[in-house]
């Protein structure tokens, strides 16, 4: 029955019908809640009652007048540092595993596997690794003869806890970054490398002058993922430390969740989320500005 329609008409129908479902899902589960979130941020809704009293900008004023709220970003900084380290390691492995190497697929799978695991399960697992008295990490350090280090309270020392947690993130997401880098490495035309080789370039020169510049857009993407990931950490400290010791590992999102669900202040929590959103956009803009200074095109 569609045979009689014109080709263009058929095309429109197909496009519309195929786009409807994903657009509907996107609208219902992304944009509708986002709009609601903006609305809630102007109310002091308690999370369950039918009334949602409008309070205007009071929530935003409260967030910006409470220095405590922004202080937790210091804790997120550790995740950013570890994220940068993670990207460097990922590039390193990507370069190595793109060369001819015996069993490289095996190693790729090995490094990628942690990413597939459930975040909460990973966090739970590392709870046993970092345990002070019975943990495997301290046991290993003790057996290596580092008895001074083997008493370390990995999750109980204020300056250390965020790095301990972030290193778990590194273990988990490094493989993911690596796979993206490998894909971009394979997209670099082989003949550039050959030409460089003929001209007598060493392997370090090839890396700095050819490989890295060609991967720039992908590095940018991964850095963006790292930054937003660092700003939005939640599951690791939530499962492992509950923000402890005494709030030293509390992250911004955890604070938002507590404000909403423990202290029944959905309005304030929504305002905090909106601010985080703008924060991410802001960081992204700065990053674009800095990385594109060299003139991309």
């Amino acid at each position: 029955m569609f045979g009689t329609m014109s080709y263009n008409k058929q095309k429109t129908i197909i496009i519309v019908s195929f786009l409807t479902i994903p657009l509907l899902l996107l609208g219902v589960f992304t944009y509708y809640p986002a709009i609601k979130l903006i609305y809630y941020s102007f109310t002091n809704w308690d999370g369950y009652s039918p009334e949602k009293p409008w309070v205007g900008l009071a929530n935003y004023r409260e967030v910006f007048s409470n220095p405590d709220i922004f202080k937790v970003f210091e804790h997120n900084f550790a995740y950013f540092v570890m994220g940068v380290v993670q990207n460097i390691i990922a590039i390193y492995f990507a370069v190595i595993l793109s060369n001819r190497l015996r069993g490289k697929n095996f190693f790729r799978i090995l490094l990628f596997l942690p990413y597939i695991m459930n975040g909460v399960a990973v966090a739970f697992m590392f709870g046993y690794v970092f345990d002070t008295t019975n943990g495997s990490l301290n046991l290993l350090l003790g057996n290596l003869g580092l008895s001074g280090l083997s008493q370390t309270s990995w999750l109980g020392t204020e300056g250390l806890v965020n790095y301990s947690l972030a290193s778990t993130g590194l273990w988990r997401f490094m493989g993911y970054n690596m796979v993206i880098y490998i894909a971009s490495l394979q997209a670099i035309p082989r003949d550039i490398f050959e030409a460089a080789k003929i001209d007598g370039a060493g392997s370090m020169q090839t890396l700095w002058r050819i490989t890295l510049p060609n991967m720039k857009p992908v590095i940018q993407l991964n850095l963006f993922l790292t930054v937003t990931g660092a700003l939005e950490v939640f599951d690791l400290p939530f499962v492992l430390t509950k923000g402890g010791p005494a709030g030293a590992s509390q992250t911004y999102v955890q604070r938002v969740v507590e404000t909403a669900f423990a202290y029944n202040n959905y309005g304030l929590a929504s305002a905090m989320s909106i601010i985080l959103l703008f924060f991410v956009v802001f960081v992204l803009l700065i990053q674009q500005l800095v990385l594109n200074r060299g003139g991309n095109k």
Binding site: Y7, K11, I14, Y48, T132, G135, K242, N265
Partner: protein, 436 residues
């Protein structure tokens, strides 16, 4: 060729949508037939007692571990008494309180549930009064979930808090009598420590195991059940010499003397139960609900003892009595009577409180737990708590005050007075904002 591809694509879409709509009509007809059988059973009235009440109710339970085990037995016995009531159990996700609130917001409450943390004035919006159950003279904490003079919630069981200890560990360390004063308690801790046993498992890291230190002890120390509500009248609720400061100082002292876990920031709740059971750890300061869990972790009931924490040197300790979750029946339930019958049965006949290790919710019932008998043999006075003042809760939420977290800070801080100052300031600010 291309044309064909497109038209076959369109027909695929058509087929898909037909399939989808087919599913829809299928399920609705299924619902119809279920409703039909329902009316059939309700028309067949039997002479048995309780048979006049019928209907299908759901119960949102936090004890997911009991589904398929104890609940099966409960429902079987319940069914003998009320053959026409069908009970469906809905296991809660990890956070009962949160899940219940989401259901409240969406107006889709299960028929029987526990009351989450909402102000009492909101109770009539969601729940049906339970005064007509005929239990009002027998229930404990009758005034706890009351709005406009009507009872909206009945406690499912009560707890007290105290020291749960491993009797063998105590005997090994040479402790012959249960400590009656704080000094004796410290001496007992020292003996356990000398034996290589961790005296008291605080589970400090997990925060909630500190609840009894900040919710029970302060009001006992002050000998004032409404002490937590008295915060309302002051800008400095936390001082070193009032209940809060004193209670948290006790915990701090235990930590300074090395009587808690070696690293209190790295504790493991599940493991600690096994360690108490095996005698590697000596004591818990928790509610009596933990007794059965310790026994379940691998020891016998006669190896677990329970006594009130002697928080001072007076020798006459008292202990706090606190309610657990409160049963409630949804106002908009289609089968309010059936739901009420179920609540009544759970309170009177189920035996849930003994399984869960609670002090019975009904005054005329006695606990079957030997540990609770031991606890009361010492002559401990049980202090019933009072309802939280909603204004105090409002101020606490506004100040983002979480007492167990304050206790954590207090114990870890180099200068605990600074922690109290910080929270006093937050309290004073929030109090001003909420009041006007």
């Amino acid at each position: 060729m291309k044309k064909k591809l497109f038209s076959s694509g369109i027909s695929m879409v058509m087929v898909m949508s037909m399939l989808l709509s087919g599913c829809g009509s299928d399920s609705s007809s299924g619902g119809d037939s279920a409703a039909k059988t329902d009316t059939n059973t309700s028309t067949k009235t039997t002479a048995k007692e309780g048979a006049d009440i019928s209907g299908k109710i759901t119960f949102l339970t936090n004890r997911t571990d009991m589904i398929g085990k104890e609940y099966d037995d409960y429902l079987k016995r319940f069914h003998e008494k009320y053959p026409n009531i069908e009970v469906e159990l809905e296991p809660s996700q990890t956070d009962y309180n949160q899940q219940a609130k989401v259901r409240m917001a969406s107006q889709e409450l299960p028929d029987v549930m526990f009351i989450p943390t909402i102000p009492n004035s909101d109770l009539p919006k969601y729940f049906a009064p339970l005064d007509d159950l005929g239990l009002n003279d027998r229930i404990t904490f009758k005034d706890f979930k009351v709005a406009d003079g009507k009872v909206y919630g009945i406690t499912s069981g009560n707890s007290t808090s105290g020291i749960v200890y491993n009797k063998k560990a105590f005997a090994d360390a040479g402790i012959t009598a249960v400590p009656k004063t704080w000094d004796e308690f410290l001496a007992a801790c020292e003996k356990l420590k000398q034996k290589g046993i961790v005296p008291l498992a605080s589970n400090f890291k997990d925060k909630w195991p500190l609840n009894n230190w900040v919710y029970d002890l302060p009001r006992l120390i002050e000998n004032n059940p409404s002490f937590p509500n008295d915060k309302l009248n002051t800008d400095t609720p936390f001082t070193m010499d009032n209940g809060y400061g004193k209670a948290m100082s006790l915990l701090r002292e235990l930590n300074e003397k090395g009587y808690l876990e070696k690293d209190i920031n790295s504790t493991n709740w599940e493991q600690s139960k096994k360690d108490i059971a095996s005698g590697k750890f000596g004591m818990y300061f928790l509610g009596n609900w933990v007794i059965n869990q310790v026994i379940g972790a691998g020891t016998t009931s006669d190896n677990v003892g329970f006594f009130p924490l002697p928080y001072d040197n007076s020798g006459t300790p008292s202990a706090a009595l606190s309610p657990d979750f409160f049963y409630a029946v949804a106002k908009d339930s289609e089968n309010v009577d059936a739901a009420k019958a179920f609540v009544k049965w759970m309170l009177e006949d189920s035996g849930y409180e003994d399984f869960a290790g609670f002090i019975p919710p009904l005054k005329d019932k006695e606990s079957k737990l030997p540990q609770l008998k031991e606890f009361q043999s010492g002559g401990a006075k049980l202090q019933e708590g009072t309802v939280d003042d909603p204004v105090v809760t409002d101020i606490s939420n506004k100040a983002q005050l979480d007492l167990p977290a304050v206790a954590q800070e207090f114990v870890l801080a180099p200068d605990p007075q600074k922690v109290l100052d910080k929270w006093n300031a937050a309290w004073a600010k929030a109090r001003k904002e909420v009041k006007h």
